[in-house]
Structure formats: structure tokens, C-alpha cells
Symmetry: C2
Subunit: 214 residues, 2 copies
């Protein structure tokens, strides 16, 4: 199924189409979908406006096409590299090490693709066509992987006996909160480099902020 996507990706992706997609990501992320003009995307892509409509039936078509690169970039590395880290190598390593590596990895993936992520996340709030595939394809894969890891360590007794999905959500919350708050309000919330931040985040996630109950 993933291979299918890649094939589709390679097949359809001429030089120009790729440039249009990249330009669209840039413009959409700066102005929002409805605030973006196809003329600006064309200029940004060094292409005539008409060319856009040779590749995409409508403006909304461009937006929907962003799902493919998003899925490719996030699902593939997740199931490949990080799944490997977590589920294989990670099984015998301490949880804090593995969680730190995982969060750091995801953090950088998000930061590297911020405009794409920002656009898809925000526009999916207004266009169901975007949200549906996310809920049906992307989310389940991510959740299955994380839930699996959490369950493994719950059963091993490493984690407390909270609901699995609750723990999964908490892990995601902490990363989400960091990304959102530190990039929206860098002057208030960006205190160190990502590596140190992640380290502290995982510490708190595992042990809390309360001074030892001993």
C-alpha cells in the first residue's frame, strides 16, 4: 500500500508539478488556503498560471494533493526507522532513552516539514476531504505503533496501569504542546535546544514534576 503511493508519487511527479506543489505549500502555509492566490503560487513556482491547471483540476485539488507527500514523509519513516528503533532495538533499552529518541526524531520531522504540516493540520479543520483520510489512514497507523509500545511496557510493569490510549495521548500531548507553544511564542517558551528540551519533557512524562513522594 505504501509502495503504491510511492509509485503514484514517482509517476505523476514531473519537475513542474513538484515545483507547483512546493510553491503551494509555501504560499498556503503563509496565507492559508483561502487567502492564497493561484497567481502567487504560479509566480513562486516560476510557472505560468495556466500551467497550474494543467496539473490540477482546481485550486482545492492542490490542497488535496498535499496529503500524499505528508503521508509519505510521516508514515514511511515512522514505520521504518522509528518503528525499528522502538520495537526492536528499543525493547531492551530503557524507556527514557527510547522515548527521547522517538520524540526527538518526530520533532525534527515536524520542524523540517512545518509548512506542510501546518497547512494540512489547519485546513483539515475546514475541509472534511482532508480530515477523513487522516483519520482513516494516518492516525490509525501512528496509534497502532505507539499503543503497541505502550502496551509492551505496561505489561512489563514499566508503566503505571493507566489506559493505554491515555498514555499514548499524553505522550503526543507533550510533544504537541512543545511544538505549538515554542513555535507560536518563541519569546516565552523557547528555553534551550531541542535535545535538552526533549530530555526534560521525557523526564517529566516519566516522573512528573512533584518532588519525590518518598
Amino acid at each position: 500500500m505504501v509502495d503504491n503511493n510511492i509509485k503514484e508519487f514517482d509517476d505523476e511527479l514531473s519537475e513542474k508539478k513538484l515545483k507547483i506543489l512546493e510553491a503551494a505549500i509555501k504560499v498556503f502555509s503563509e496565507k492559508g488556503f483561502d487567502g492564497s492566490r493561484t497567481s502567487e503560487i504560479a509566480k513562486e513556482a516560476n510557472v505560468a498560471e495556466g500551467t497550474i491547471f494543467k496539473y490540477f483540476k482546481t485550486k482545492k485539488d492542490i490542497l488535496l494533493s498535499l496529503l500524499l507527500p505528508l503521508t509519505l514523509k510521516f508514515i514511511k519513516p515512522l514505520t521504518m526507522k522509528s518503528a525499528e528503533d522502538i520495537l526492536n532495538k528499543g525493547k531492551d533499552e530503557p524507556v527514557d532513552e527510547v522515548l527521547k529518541r522517538l520524540l526527538y526524531d518526530r520533532l525534527h520531522l515536524v520542524k523540517k516539514n512545518m509548512p506542510l504540516v501546518k497547512t494540512v493540520v489547519i485546513e483539515s479543520l475546514y475541509h472534511e476531504e482532508l480530515l477523513v483520510p487522516i483519520k482513516e489512514k494516518l492516525a490509525p497507523q501512528v496509534l497502532e505503533l505507539l499503543d503497541g509500545y505502550v502496551n509492551y511496557h505496561k505489561e512489563k510493569g514499566d508503566f503505571k496501569d493507566y489506559d493505554t490510549r491515555f498514555i499514548t495521548r499524553t505522550i503526543m500531548s507533550m510533544l504537541l504542546g512543545y511544538v505549538v507553544l515554542s513555535s507560536a511564542f518563541p519569546e516565552f517558551f523557547s528555553m534551550g535546544d531541542d535535545e535538552n528540551e526533549i530530555e526534560r519533557i521525557v523526564d517529566v512524562l516519566l516522573n512528573g514534576i512533584k518532588n519525590g513522594g518518598v
Copy 2:
């Protein structure tokens, strides 16, 4: 200063203007600012389209006007009711009780005003005119209050010796993550009623998910 706002609020707010603002919040939150039509806002408010422009110079003026109700709703109750809870009554109560009350209170404030919050948060990503007052007025007040509480308990030895702002951010992260994830993906992340969720969230915040290091 707060009183100033209220006076301004009361003075300017005729019946019609209020109806237009409420309609705008609804339409903006459903379609986004650039996706919204003044004609639809007018219809939603049971008002002629021209009337909108008697009260607001431009469409963007409507958006900027949303800052006032937002600030009033969030700053005033925060500094009043919750500040009282936290700083006075809360000083001698256990931190978990106070945090639970605080988060529960804020959660419901956000949920009750979701369309307004959603609109302001998202549109501030695209319109600096919105973000600037948030950063200069709203954020500092919220942070001062929370930082104060955190500092108090850090000094008392209740909290570990993390950077104050880091703890503050973590508290906000956990609430933000819960609100965002459970409302964007209710089928994946809504597991219980808010009260129970908050309770677990504060537990994890204080003690972490790791099984006792004892």
C-alpha cells in the same frame, strides 16, 4: 485597565453589533476568516449586509474586534475567580486539588468559547495584528499568574527544581494537548468525562507514567 475594557464593551455594544459579532464568530470558526462571506455573516445575524459596515469599517475590523470579548472572557475570570482559588485558598491546599480545579475551570472556559478561541488562535497565525496584542497583553498576564503559582510551590519544595517557565509550559501543554486531540479526534482520544480526564492528567503531570521508582 480591565474596567476600561468593560466600559468600552458596554458603550459600543448595541444589540445589533453584538449579533453581528456572534454571527461572525460562528461563521469564521466554521469557514475560516478568508473563507467567510460578509453576506453570510449578515444572514446569520439577521441583519442587512450594509449594517455590518455601519458598525465595522472592514471585514478585517470584525476579526480584530473579537480580541476584546476574548480578553474579557479569559483574563477577567482568570485574574478574578481562579487567581483567588489558586493563590489564596490554594496556598494551603494540596497542589493536585488546586491544579485539578484550575485545569477543569480553564478547560470549560475554552470549551464554552471554542468557536471564538479557535478563530482567534488560527487567524493569529496569518494576521500579525491579532498576534501582537495577544503576545503583549494576554500572554504576559496568564504567564505571570501561573509562573507565580509554580514558583511558590517550587520554593516550598513541592515541585522539582525545573525551570519555572518549563513547568508552566508543561502544565499548558497537557491541557492544550487534551483539548486539541480530544476535540479533533474524539473517536480516538475521548475516553471519559472531562472531570476524570483532568484528574488523570494532573496525576501524570505530578507523578509521571513510570511505575514507582521505589
